[in-house]
């Protein structure tokens, strides 16, 4: 077994974790990312020890919102000119920059203390699956997804379709009423 010092370094070393944001609900995903950034997934957690990990999020352009949130949810955007503040819908905001929606959500979910800016620098967002090589080398583990993406009908196999439970089996000459 390694010595005490080596064991201590191994326990408190910072991990690099991968997260796939494809078709994941945004607020739940942000909460999960916050948990890993703060280090609350470790049994050695303490708010004073900086024990959080790096989180690399891929496919941020395919993140999902519930119901009609894409049209309804508004983000405040600073134009740089005085006295003008624009409220953009999530759709336009996402079109402007596909990584900013998750960035804003995680920023609002993190605890509002002086650690927040520090933890945001450990969040790495990429719109698709192209990651720089120096980050790819560091990746250790995958964050479990919030929701398994649903399957389309053509993605099911014939056996699964046949064995799916049915409420009733209609007769051969059954025609539904219009």
């Amino acid at each position: 077994m390694a010595s005490r010092v080596q064991q201590h370094w191994l326990t408190f070393s910072r991990m690099w974790l991968l997260c796939d944001a494809r078709w994941q609900p945004t607020p739940e995903l942000a909460k999960r990312i916050c948990k890993y950034l703060e280090g609350r997934h470790k049994p050695v957690y303490h708010p004073l020890t900086d024990c959080g990990d790096h989180v690399v999020v891929i496919n941020t352009k395919e993140v999902a919102f519930d119901k009609n949130q894409w049209e309804k949810k508004l983000y405040a955007v600073n134009t740089g000119y005085k006295d003008t503040m624009i409220a953009m819908s999530a759709k336009d905001f996402h079109r402007m920059d596909p990584t900013k929606v998750i960035e804003r959500e995680v920023y609002s979910e993190l605890p509002k203390n002086s650690q927040r800016q520090n933890l945001m620098t450990r969040l790495h967002l990429f719109p698709d699956e192209n990651i720089p090589d120096n980050i790819k080398e560091n990746l250790v583990d995958i964050i479990p997804p919030v929701m398994e993406p649903p399957k389309r009908l053509d993605e099911f196999t014939e056996e699964e379709k046949a064995s799916w439970p049915r409420f009733f089996i209609p007769p051969a000459d059954y025609k539904p009423a219009d």
């Binding site: 609350r40 997934h41 470790k42 049994p43 050695v44 957690y45 303490h46």
Partner: protein, 170 residues
């Protein structure tokens, strides 16, 4: 007695003060104490305060009128803090157990309900989760089975991947 009462009316005792219900009782009780242990003089009284405030800032350290207030505030904060520390530390144990049980595929609520009869408190459980991971894994397995099927089902069989030393009771 009369002479003593006369002394007290001329020089009423300032420090220490004994709170009693009526002024007549006050004179009656404090007489004995006044004679047996005369009140400390000013220097000693203030020395007591400055011994407690030697590390405060500025006038809170050296000026009695300000230091006495700072000392009392500090004592009030310390009293409140002693109660808050207990709450904070328990919350930390629970959070650590939540993380450790998620590592084994359990939720914290299932772990605690499953280990209800096992009577290990959260303090020791969180210590085991950090320093004795294999022991905690065995406890998590017990909690998993106990939550679903009860404690008898959990303790009857040997959990997989865990080595236990069998104790024979004579």
């Amino acid at each position: 007695m009369k002479a003593a009462l006369q002394i007290l009316t001329e020089h009423p005792p300032l420090f220490p003060k004994f709170r009693v219900e009526s002024p007549e009782k006050e004179m009656f009780l404090t007489l004995a104490r006044y004679v047996r242990s005369p009140p400390p003089d000013r220097w000693w009284k203030r020395r007591y305060v400055f011994n407690n405030t030697w590390r405060f800032w500025g006038r809170h350290r050296n000026c009695y009128k300000i230091a006495i207030q700072s000392m009392q505030h500090a004592w009030r904060h310390a009293r409140r803090g002693r109660a808050e520390k207990k709450r904070f530390v328990r919350g930390l144990w629970i959070e650590r157990l939540r993380a450790a049980s998620e590592e084994h595929g359990l939720s914290y609520e299932h772990l605690v309900v499953g280990l209800d009869m096992v009577q290990i408190d959260r303090k020791v459980l969180s210590h085991l989760a950090i320093y004795e991971p294999k022991t905690f894994k065995a406890l998590a397995e017990i909690a998993r089975i106990s939550y679903g099927e009860g404690l008898m089902a959990a303790t009857g069989k040997q959990p997989e991947g865990v080595f236990t030393r069998v104790i024979h009771w004579e």
